[in-house]
């Protein structure tokens, strides 16, 4: 299982704070996971579309498109940060 976490505007748009998923066959990195979530359509496709400013973290560290995901990881999706 992989835990997915959504924060700030994305959490509100999706209406989901977190979920556990079985990593689909062939999804091995962050970019693939994002693309896979887009297949849910509607809000998911719109918010996670290529080119949209979405940041991702794997196990609490900022991730790149090619950051590898394995079973047991926590993957977070969120908008560019605005703290400080």
């Amino acid at each position: 299982m992989v835990k997915l976490v959504y924060l700030a505007r994305l959490r509100e748009s999706f209406g989901v704070t977190a979920e556990d998923i079985v990593l689909p066959q062939g999804v091995c990195d962050v970019a693939w996971l994002r693309q896979w979530l887009c297949q849910r359509g509607e809000t998911w496709a719109r918010e996670l579309a290529p080119g949209r400013p979405v940041r991702m973290a794997v196990n609490h560290a900022l991730a790149k498109d090619k950051t590898v995901i394995t079973d047991g990881d926590e993957v977070a999706f969120f908008p560019p940060v605005t703290g400080g």
């Binding site: 973290a57 926590e74 969120f78 605005t82 400080g84």
Partner: protein
């Protein structure tokens, strides 16, 4: 090298006193406080809610402090970031850096803020005269953080 994420307010005098106490090697202390403004994008802001990613926010701040220590000759740092509901004039963030000389303290303090603005998982949602909205990230914040990569 403390990092704290908290709902409570902070007392900068007490925090600086605690940070520098008993260390005669400190010749400079630089600090920065970020505050809630009553106006953003032309609309009156009545309050804002600071959200963070528990578990990552502290780690991200610690990573920034670790990088700061590698770049400048500093003695100690303190970063406090508040979360929850805040109103105009409320304090949001505190950065304090101590060092032997002022150059390192000034630069390290600015670096921590620039990196915090682009790398630490905090988000602002503001209630304004035009309604409730998430604050958009600014390109100027990315540029401020990028300049340290060129310098470094």
């Amino acid at each position: 090298m403390a990092v704290r994420v908290q709902t409570e307010d902070f007392d900068i005098g007490a925090e600086i006193l605690a940070l520098k106490r008993g260390n005669p090697k400190i010749g400079a202390v630089a600090s920065f406080i970020g505050l809630v403004r009553d106006m953003n994008e032309g609309d009156v802001v009545s309050e804002m809610t600071l959200e963070h990613y528990p578990g990552m926010s502290e780690k991200a701040l610690e990573a920034i402090v670790t990088e700061t220590k590698q770049r400048w000759d500093i003695l100690d740092t303190l970063v406090i970031h508040r979360v929850g509901v805040l109103k105009p004039t409320d304090q949001i963030v505190l950065v304090v850096v101590s060092s032997a000389h002022r150059g390192d303290a000034f630069a390290a303090c600015e670096f921590i803020m620039d990196y915090l603005k682009t790398r630490a998982p905090f988000w602002k949602k503001e209630n304004t005269s035009a309604g409730s909205r998430w604050v958009e990230a600014r390109e100027s914040d990315d540029k401020a953080a990028d300049k340290w990569q060129q310098d470094g």
